[in-house]
Symmetry: C2
Subunit: 179 residues, 2 copies
């Protein structure tokens, strides 16, 4: 059975640096379409930095046409200020996805490491190396934010149960967020 | 000297409930234009809730045409999850302001209480009552989120140094974010 290609964008959010990676899957074969990092100048007012993040994310989504977005859940942070800053960038990325009709899924950091490396406590370097191997790249993507975003996209494409691929009952309705 | 009226929107951000209040000042006289609370259903995916917040905030800004936005800084939160959730809604509100060209200022919660009530440790009820008095209302705005947003707008209008009102040097350039 031929498998429809899927194209997902992984996001590693932050206001100073937001990593993204668009990855395509055909069956088990994964291909990196593009990855990178949106940086915003600290001297700029926060609302202008968020506007830059919005416009850059929108540009990538419109140009590369992913239909799914994957983002890590944030479980820990140095302090409330950091958590709010990450949350603000994350909110803008999720909003941009909703505006362009992408589905969104969130993954716990341990699950991302588990899915990419096979070990939930793998180091950043170990995860980066597996990203390189799985995407058949010459080198680990840089900066770290882009490699992390690629790991999130790989986790999403490899672990998500796609309704159309699951064995369906004779007339079982398939919910958008079922399970 | 006649004072140009100013119209500001105060925002008390959250994903479940986002309070807003549009307040106009003419000299020291303050008038409530409108306040309310945007609520989003917990059952909806986060990105759809953020989309609702964006669209509701945009509608208020386009209809009532404030030119300034004021938001509280967040210094404490129950946990990282809460801080991220508030940050996401806050990021969407700030983005909407930037998209519509509003200037944005942030205020510490103590400063808001100080500006409205004269006492930085005033209770929520005490701040609400002063909001009622300062805006010459029959009752404290409800829900709390709307009253809090009104307090933030009042703080902003009463405390911000407006460059055009400040004594200007003979040819001193006035920065948008001077001082």
């Amino acid at each position: 059975m031929a498998t429809e290609p899927r194209r997902a964008i992984g996001i590693d959010p932050g206001t100073a640096r937001l990593g993204y990676a668009v990855v395509e899957s055909r069956g088990r074969a994964l291909t990196l379409v593009e990855c990178g990092c949106v940086t915003t100048p600290p001297a700029l007012p926060m609302e202008q930095r968020l506007l830059q993040i919005h416009e850059a994310t929108l540009e990538v989504i419109e140009r590369l046409a992913p239909t799914e977005m994957a983002v890590e859940e944030l479980f820990f942070a140095k302090n409330v200020t950091t958590a709010v800053a990450v949350g603000q960038a994350r909110g803008v990325a999720l909003l941009t996805a909703a505006q362009r009709g992408l589905t969104v899924r969130e993954y716990k950091p341990m699950l991302v490491k588990q899915a990419v490396h096979g070990y939930g406590l793998a180091t950043k370097a170990q995860v980066g190396e597996m990203v390189r191997v799985l995407l058949r790249l010459d080198a680990v993507p840089t900066p770290d934010d882009a490699a992390d975003a690629a790991a999130i996209a790989i986790c999403h494409l490899n672990t998500l149960q796609v309704p159309s691929l699951a064995p369906a009952g004779p007339s079982a309705p398939v919910g958008r967020r079922g399970g």
